[in-house]
């Protein structure tokens, strides 16, 4: 080992002040590649050694920007391009909604990159050894003494004469450092053939034991009977169709069971002319109409159909239904409003079935008549 070239040298000192004096002496003699070893971090040592501020911040900044970009791109792709979903009427690419995820990804990326960058790039870990560990001073350096490490790559370094430059200082010793292995990372001891065979053997043993227990050992499979059925689930792929879509669109002209075609969607006036209220006016039908009205119409139109509903603070206020216009409309015309919606009012076709819509109109007629009662109604 002694024939090898040294990779550096370590000088031992008793106190931090002696160490600083040693560093100053080495710097005076033109040494630039210096490092210090101490049992604990010494404040301002980086300044004494002339080391600039850490460049780790740039790693964090670049990784943070990468996280930001990735988050924004991914959300834009998912929410606005690949699977557009209308959420509360907001734009598909909604900046405010995307900021939390962007922020989280920025923090995640930059914190991971900072830790990994510090360990791998700046501290060159993992290493299985350091030439310093073989120094005779390593016990002192990790306990109560301070060391100055000189790099052999320094142009001023020479194994024989360097020791002399510390003459006159309070040093405790001088030791040359030698490289232990050609490459500290791929140690032969770790990547040796017997070890790899052992690793493969353990993996094989574990997986075959697991397989045997689950296949033949009478183990109960996990509770998934409901999920694992031989059927097509919504939004799943199917190979039975050329377009591979499991959910089939209806054949053109299909009429769903219980549904009647409604040709008046674009012509409400025609509905008023053509449609006649098919529901009979009975006590029970008026009661049903009143209940449906209370559930679906009253929040906006009010209990008396006079536009004094409870939601009017938050939603547009509807017109009163006691106007001569509303009273003059035929039942079919009102049915068209319920079915297709009008102005701010949405369509209620999916929420109120056909018969109930007609019953609501009966009840509305009763409300209108009660509000505009004539003398004969009072008898």
């Amino acid at each position: 080992m002694s024939e090898k070239e040294p990779v550096g040298a370590v000088v031992l000192f008793k106190t931090p002040d002696d160490l600083v004096a040693g560093i100053r002496r080495a710097q005076d003699r033109g040494f630039t590649r210096l490092d210090s070893v101490s049992p604990y971090p010494i404040h301002k040592m980086d300044e004494v050694l002339g080391k600039g501020p850490s460049r780790l911040g740039y790693v964090a900044a670049i990784a943070g920007l990468a996280g930001t970009t990735l988050a924004k791109t991914a959300q834009w792709w998912v929410s606005a391009v690949d699977y557009p979903l209308n959420i509360g009427g907001n734009p598909l690419f909604s900046y405010p909604a995307f900021i939390p995820v962007t922020f989280e990804l920025m923090v995640l990326f930059s914190s991971l990159a900072t830790v990994i960058g510090m360990l791998v790039v700046f501290n060159r870990l993992p290493q299985y050894g350091s030439s310093l560990l073989k120094s005779k001073f390593i016990r002192d350096l990790t306990c109560d003494k301070y060391g100055l490490v000189l790099d052999a790559a320094d142009p001023k370094f020479s194994p024989d004469t360097t020791r002399a430059i510390f003459d006159g200082l309070e040093t405790l010793g001088f030791d040359l450092l030698y490289r232990e292995r050609p490459s500290p990372f791929f140690s032969q001891r770790i990547l040796s053939v017997p070890f790899l065979v052992l690793l493969a053997g353990v993996a094989l043993l574990c997986s075959s034991a697991t397989r045997l227990v689950f296949r033949y050992g009478g183990a109960v499979p996990p509770f998934n009977f409901m999920k694992a059925q031989e059927k097509l689930n919504p939004q799943h792929e199917s190979n039975a169709f050329p377009d591979k879509t499991g959910m089939r669109p209806a054949v053109p002209g299909t009429v769903a069971r219980g549904l009647l075609p409604y040709p008046y969607a674009s012509d409400a006036e025609a509905a008023g002319r053509d449609l006649v209220n098919p529901a009979p006016v009975t006590t029970s039908s008026l009661v049903r109409g009143r209940d449906r009205y209370a559930i679906f119409c009253q929040p906006c139109h009010g209990r008396e159909a006079d536009a004094r509903g409870t939601l009017t603070a938050a939603f547009p206020k509807p017109p009163t239904l006691h106007s001569s216009k509303a009273r003059g409309w035929m039942d079919g015309r009102i049915y068209a409003v319920l079915t297709s919606g009008q102005n701010a009012m949405p369509s209620y076709a999916s929420q109120i079935n056909r018969e109930d819509r007609w019953l609501i109109i009966h009840y509305l007629r009763a409300l209108q008549r009660a509000h505009n009662a004539e003398e004969r109604d009072l008898k």
């Binding site: 002040d17 404040h43 004494v48 501020p53 509360g88 405010p96 900021i99 939390p100 938050a314």
Partner: protein, 396 residues
């Protein structure tokens, strides 16, 4: 390792004469501009006065917050800066007379003080047990009782220590700091509800209190950074106050400013997502008549510019950079309050009229006068604080 010159002046450090002239000039200019502004649009003048009042209150409370924070966490790095915070906390005292025009103009500013409006409005009626004149004034008195009481306990105790050197005063301040922090959070939350949120009595946001509280913390830290960096640049601070101390101040400013942005965005996001007209109405007012540009400017001025300017490590030790960024943040805090208050007071008017110009000048005059008045009486460092030596020797 590093030898320090710890010679510290025991008497008040004389401030440059130019500061007195600047304060006087700003005061004269502001009062000259105020008269026509008040005559031309009294309502707008009152709204501006409310901005000025809340600005002064938040600066004072922010400074007092830093004083209490030091005792709360037993920080040593901030001991050399504490007297600066204490002197500027005097803004709380000056804010009390500033409140007189507000209290006289309550009827102009706050809709809920109109009994005829409350009687026909079910929402205002439901809020009347809280939003009524008597309870408002009781709360107002309570806020000032807590703030002025804390001012005299913390600041007065520290000044007494200059002559007595009594360690018990520091121990007492450490005992007082935790309850004061809780009280500060509550009082400033309700002050935010009372003075700003109730301008638009339909609107509510449960995060609003912490919004103003973080605004106050940022503003307090900014004015102390500004004063500290200016003093250091003029060589009026001891040699031992080094870049290590200013690094901490800058980092605190950076963190608090980012916290403000976080809170402000949280408020916006929830209201945007909910999309309920009662809530979005408030932001809608700030998205029209030119206020949309103020909203954008606020994001840039109160978050993006300070964030980028303070991001790097070297920025936090660069005194000139710290000085302009903290002054910038103070301006952004004023803009924030202006943006919170003005659109609710003058619903049909745009931002930045000539009538508003006198108020930033008045704020500068007030802050400078309080600073000169206080620092003429006490040394610039808490000279006999038991932790001062540790504070001066602070290393990063």
């Amino acid at each position: 390792m590093i030898t320090e010159n710890n010679k510290i002046r025991q008497d008040p450090t004389p401030m440059p004469r130019a500061l007195t002239r600047a304060a006087l000039g700003a005061a004269i200019l502001a009062s000259l501009l105020m008269a026509p502004a008040a005559l031309s649009n009294w309502d707008r003048f009152l709204g501006n006065w409310l901005v000025l009042f809340v600005f002064v209150v938040t600066l004072g409370l922010g400074a007092l917050f830093l004083v209490a924070l030091e005792f709360l966490v037993n920080a040593t790095w901030s001991v050399p800066f504490r007297r600066i915070s204490e002197n500027l906390a005097g803004l709380i005292l000056i804010s009390l007379p500033l409140a007189i025009p507000i209290l006289m103009g309550l009827h102009t500013l706050y809709e809920w003080t109109h009994s005829e409006a409350v009687s026909v409005d079910s929402i205002l009626r439901a809020k009347a047990p809280y939003l009524n004149l008597r309870f408002f004034l009781i709360r107002f008195a309570l806020f000032y009782l807590v703030w002025i009481g804390a001012y005299f306990l913390f600041v007065g105790g520290s000044r007494r220590q200059d002559s007595t050197g009594d360690v018990g005063l520091t121990k007492r301040a450490m005992k007082l700091a935790p309850p004061f922090m809780i009280l500060l959070a509550f009082t400033l939350t309700f002050a935010a509800f009372d003075w700003i949120m109730s301008l638009a009595p339909y609107w509510y946001s449960s995060i609003f209190g912490i919004y103003l509280l973080t605004g106050a913390m940022v503003a307090g830290t900014a004015i102390i950074t500004f004063a500290g960096a200016s003093l250091k640049l003029k060589n009026l601070l001891p040699e031992a106050v080094r870049s290590d101390h200013f690094y901490n101040l800058g980092a605190l400013l950076f963190a608090l400013n980012t916290l403000w942005a976080y809170i402000a965005f949280a408020q916006y996001l929830l209201i945007w997502y909910g999309g309920i007209p009662v809530e979005t109405h408030w932001f809608d007012l700030r998205s029209q008549r030119g206020w949309e540009w103020v909203s954008v400017l606020l994001v840039l001025a109160h978050f993006l510019v300070p964030f980028l300017a303070l991001l790097s490590r070297s920025a936090k030790t660069d005194l000139r950079r710290l000085r302009w960024v903290s002054a910038w943040i103070l301006g952004a805090h004023g803009l924030d309050l202006y943006w919170l208050i003005m659109p609710s007071v003058r619903v049909n008017e745009g931002p930045f009229g000539w009538q508003d110009l006198c108020f930033p000048i008045a704020a500068i005059a007030l802050a400078l006068s309080v600073w000169l008045w206080q620092s003429a009486r006490f040394p610039v460092i808490a000279i006999r604080d038991p932790r001062l030596q540790a504070g001066l020797q602070f290393h990063l």
